[in-house]
């Protein structure tokens, strides 16, 4: 572990920032944590509310096993201790978005205990600083409903669709020391839950959100008083909150003030955090074991099944891409940062190997390069995500196969790809219909070279006079005359011969 050098330069000297995150991740599940109600995003208000979610008299919760399974898998992916015995507690407080008057959560005995993840400030740089961030616990709990205060002049509306949806609260240790570390941690966490499939990680839909705990101190001294900024919903915003809040705290302290432990809100438009409620008038959360539910006891068979169902995780995958596929650290990092990208790449690679009849190892590098530069470049221009790509992995593999067997030169492949994007046609079809095959016909190429040399006597003279850099000019002219279809290797060889 390398200590962060991030410092806030105050009037009276340097300050270090201490950050812990509590990340709420919505569990991917068809049903809520304690009822059978559906959980789809964007449904009509109050259309996904069971009698239990609405806290009708006499209704009882029953635990949805799939939510527990997903939380256990997540814990395993974070290398955390899975507690075979855990228990649900009620967190009692009055609020309009909480129909029962309490939230079912796990305070005393969480499902998942300690774990840790490695984060790198730049995953794409093999020499970048890496740091281990401790995970304190993961517990599962119910989400609250949503209040809408702007729908009616005097009334507030309540949408209980989210009420009772399963959340994993992933609590870190206060191990982060810079906005970059906090951002990298959250990004890594999101990557892992997406790999595991336990949360879709869509922060803009509220599937994942972070409470950011920030305090400042003189380097090496005791922890200072922290504030908690609630419900921050992007990696960028988390980094901003750390920066803004740490700076604010330093200013308060240096002006002779004191930091009060409180809950704050982030206002991205004004770039500030604001006090929501201080600890003194905070809710008195009354906790006690939920008497409607028995303790959760997990057996070995269940844990084994959870373990067996885990996919290859991003760090392992990145290592394998480098060692087995021979990809650069940069490419391996880009391809594994996101589960969907890795899946796309692996589909492309498998299909390429099948079509070309070659090994994956042999094709990995061109496939990675094509995906990262050509496809990502094109998607970027189109403003589309990978899952909206107009070119499928199978179509990409056909294109790569044509390049691998020499049918298409690099420039020709790019040209064919452009046409694929426009027409949606397959590469073989385009090559066939438009005659875009690369040619190695020496007779034809020699004839063109003769023409090029005849048409450029001045350059020829200069070249022969020792200006060898003009070789590339002749290559270019030849390729141009052949509409890019000539095999560049053959062109090179024949040109050298012709130029003597």
């Amino acid at each position: 572990m390398t200590e962060s050098s991030y410092r806030i330069h105050g009037e009276t000297g340097e300050w270090e920032v201490v950050i812990g995150l509590e990340v709420h991740a919505q569990v991917t599940s068809n049903a809520k944590l304690m009822s059978g109600a559906a959980t789809a995003f964007g449904a009509e208000p109050n259309s996904q509310v069971s009698l239990i979610d609405a806290a009708m008299p006499g209704m009882l919760p029953t635990v949805n096993g799939e939510c527990i399974r997903q939380a256990v898998r997540t814990g395993m992916a974070l290398g955390a201790v899975i507690n075979k015995w855990s228990r649900f507690d009620r967190k009692n407080y009055f609020y309009a978005d909480l129909p029962q008057g309490y939230q079912i959560s796990q305070l005393y005995h969480p499902l998942v205990g300690e774990g840790a993840i490695e984060v790198s400030l730049d995953e794409k740089d093999p020499n970048a600083v890496t740091k281990t961030i401790g995970i304190e616990r993961i517990h599962v709990e119910q989400d609250a409903g949503k209040l809408m205060h702007d729908q009616h002049p005097t009334r507030s509306y309540v949408d209980l669709n989210r009420a009772g949806v399963a959340l994993m609260e992933i609590v870190s240790r206060p191990d982060m020391r810079s906005p970059q570390e906090a951002g990298a941690y959250l990004a890594k966490l999101r990557s892992i839950v997406r790999y595991v499939g336990s949360c879709d990680g869509n922060m803009d839909q509220g599937s994942m959100r972070a409470d950011v705990n920030v305090s400042v101190r003189r380097p090496g001294e005791e922890f200072g008083t922290r504030t908690e900024t609630k419900n921050v919903n992007s990696v960028r915003f988390v980094m901003q909150v750390v920066e803004i809040e740490a700076k604010r705290q330093v200013e308060v302290i240096e002006a002779g003030g004191r930091i009060v432990q409180e809950t704050r809100l982030f206002d991205p438009d004004r770039g500030e955090t604001r006090s929501m409620r201080s600890k003194e008038d905070a809710h008195d959360y009354r906790y006690f074991p939920d008497p409607d539910l028995l303790p959760l006891e997990l057996d070995d068979a269940f844990l084994d099944e959870c373990k067996a169902s885990l996919p290859e995780l991003p760090d392992a995958k990145r290592g394998r891409y480098e060692s087995e596929l021979g990809l650069s650290a940069y490419n391996a990092a880009v391809l594994t940062a996101d589960a969907d990208t890795a899946r796309w790449f692996e589909a492309l690679l498998a299909e390429s190997a099948r079509v070309a009849g070659k090994s994956e190892t042999e094709l990995a590098r061109p496939a990675a390069n094509w995906l990262i530069s050509d496809l990502f470049g094109a998607l970027n221009k189109l403003g589309k995500d990978l899952d909206e790509s107009p070119v499928s992995p199978v179509q990409g593999a056909e294109l790569l196969a044509l390049a691998a067997d020499g049918t298409l030169s690099g420039p020709l492949a790019k040209q064919v790809f452009e046409i694929m994007l426009e027409t949606g046609d397959s590469a073989p079809k385009i090559v066939e219909e438009r005659g875009l095959k690369q040619t190695s016909d020496t007779g034809a190429i020699e004839a063109v070279i003769a023409g090029v040399l005849a048409a450029n006597p001045n350059q020829l003279e200069q070249y022969r006079g020792g200006k060898e850099a003009l070789f590339g000019f002749f290559v270019g002219q030849t390729m141009k005359a052949m509409q890019g279809k000539a095999n560049p290797a053959v062109v090179n060889e024949l040109l050298k011969k012709a130029l003597g």
């Binding site: 008299p57 209704m59 029953t62 129909p99 309490y102 959360y285 009354r286 409607d292 028995l294």
Partner: protein, 494 residues
């Protein structure tokens, strides 16, 4: 015409089955009786149509020669704590006045599935909090019993299942459902001279039963005798996936298994249940009960349950704590009462609704519960009480090493007059002193009538059994019932 309301559950069931009388006649007679007993205030809502529909179904089945359901055509009373589809369910509270659930509680559904019909929703202590039935928003239930010698003071039918006890004792229904959190089936049964059993926690599903204290609440039957209790309990019980604390076990055939021969059984007499100041009749009845059980073949052993004296304080921490949480949902937002003053904000609406909607005893327990769960006092009260609960359960486990059942009085006194204790909550709480320990331990326990006190009021004996041994409890109850020969009943003054 025979007065069919004189018959109990078994006799009605058998009579309908053998066409001695029709289920319709049975329902008719009970419906009339209920409608004439307003003075007892035992029912909040009467549902003659429901009883009649079940009777028709039973009579049709008899006519077609079909196999009859276990309770075909037997009408019963349903404590208003059980949610009944389309029928007002209030837990005797103002805050739920007018609430008609769109669902049926598992226990009531089980009874309807067994062919029973509903005569109405029985009055009770509000949210099942009380031992005298004086906390109902719909007024006190009056016990059908009166002291001898022309004393017309209205007496408490016990609580919280006071409507159930009064209705069964007054022959307004042959049996009724009750719920027992700290004695709410057994104490009212003892007060009116009927039988009632609280089964092992988890035998009856709590789904659709309005919660008071979830870790203690358990439904059970109240009826005129032990056999009727066995029949009703069999119909009410069973695993329910909708209740996580429901026991996934088959329901034994308790009625078939009834046997009052107690040879080879050991009955424990817990020394700690002999408390100072007990009325002599209570002590005497207990001693008589011991003789009856000996007569049935049982061996009597002295046992000690050393933590008994801590049971009541622990109960009055745990039950209010759970209640304060369970009752938080009654906030005026989704159903029931809403008090919304002009310009009031959300918090003010909550406060006004709850202030108007809950009775004094309910508020008292919510406040106690909120206090004992608050961050500063949680360890001092709730954690401590939970530990006591464990010790009490251990006391019973130790007792089971030397005996099969325990025999105790059900309540520390006979029924008292309404108003006598309502001003003194602590005196009221003492009514539960004998019933609370077994509730904290989740054990099956029943009360059977044993005799009368000097005023001619019924007194009950309690049998507490091992977990899941309802059969043993019923058998010991039957042995007492056969020897007590309890036939006393209130005069129909209402």
């Amino acid at each position: 015409m025979t007065d069919l309301t004189e018959l109990g559950v078994a006799a009605l069931r058998d009579g309908i089955r053998t066409s001695k009388f029709s289920a319709r006649e049975v329902a008719d007679q009970f419906i009339v009786k209920v409608s004439k007993a307003k003075a007892l205030n035992a029912f909040i809502v009467e549902t003659p149509d429901h009883a009649m529909a079940a009777a028709r179904a039973a009579d049709e089945a008899v006519a077609k020669g079909e196999a009859l359901k276990p309770l075909a055509g037997v009408p019963i009373g349903m404590k208003d704590l059980f949610c009944t589809k389309g029928v007002q369910t209030t837990a005797a509270s103002h805050i739920l006045e007018g609430f008609k659930p769109v669902y049926e509680s598992t226990v009531s559904q089980n009874l309807w599935d067994a062919g029973a019909g509903m005569l109405g929703k029985l009055n009770m202590d509000q949210f099942a909090m009380g031992s005298s039935n004086e906390t109902s928003y719909f007024g006190n239930v009056i016990s059908p019993w009166r002291r001898g010698g022309g004393d017309k003071a209205p007496l408490a039918p016990g609580g919280s299942s006071g409507g159930s006890s009064a209705a069964v004792a007054a022959r307004l229904c042959p049996g009724a459902t009750g719920t027992d959190t700290g004695g709410s089936i057994r104490q009212p049964a003892a007060f009116v001279g009927i039988s009632g059993i609280k089964p092992t926690y988890g035998r009856c599903s709590r789904w659709g039963t309005i919660a008071f204290a979830s870790s203690l609440d358990q439904a059970g039957p109240m009826a005129r005798d032990v056999k009727d209790c066995a029949i009703l309990l069999e119909a009410m019980s069973g695993f329910d996936a909708k209740d996580s604390t429901s026991l996934n076990l088959p329901v034994p055939k308790w009625e078939e298994g009834l046997n009052s021969d107690l040879r080879g059984k050991k009955i424990g007499i817990p020394a700690e249940y002999l408390i100072d100041g007990s009325p002599p009749e209570i002590v005497q009845l207990w001693e008589t009960g011991i003789e009856w059980l000996k007569d049935a073949g049982a061996e009597i052993v002295e046992v000690s349950l050393p933590h008994t004296k801590y049971a009541l304080p622990a109960y009055y921490i745990i039950a209010p704590a759970e209640a304060s949480s369970n009752l938080a949902r009654y906030d005026g937002v989704r159903y029931g009462l809403r008090e919304l003053a002009e310009g009031a904000n959300l918090q003010e609406m909550y406060a006004a609704t709850r202030a108007a909607g809950f009775g004094e005893e309910v508020k008292r327990r919510i406040l106690i519960g909120t206090y004992v769960l608050s961050a500063g006092f949680y360890d001092a009260y709730f954690t401590q009480a939970s530990k006591v609960r464990t010790l009490i359960a251990r006391d019973f486990e130790n007792a089971w090493a030397v005996c099969d059942y325990l025999l105790t009085p059900t309540a520390p006194s006979a029924a008292f007059a309404l108003g006598d204790k309502s001003a003194d909550p602590l005196a009221m709480y003492l009514n539960d002193v004998f019933t609370v320990p077994s509730s904290l331990a989740g054990l099956p326990a029943m009360s059977v009538p044993g005799g009368l006190d000097k005023d001619g009021l019924p007194l009950g004996l309690q049998i507490i059994g091992k977990p899941l041994d309802e059969q043993g409890v019923l058998n010991a109850g039957l042995a007492i019932e056969q020897r007590a020969g309890f036939v006393a009943r209130p005069d129909a003054w209402w």
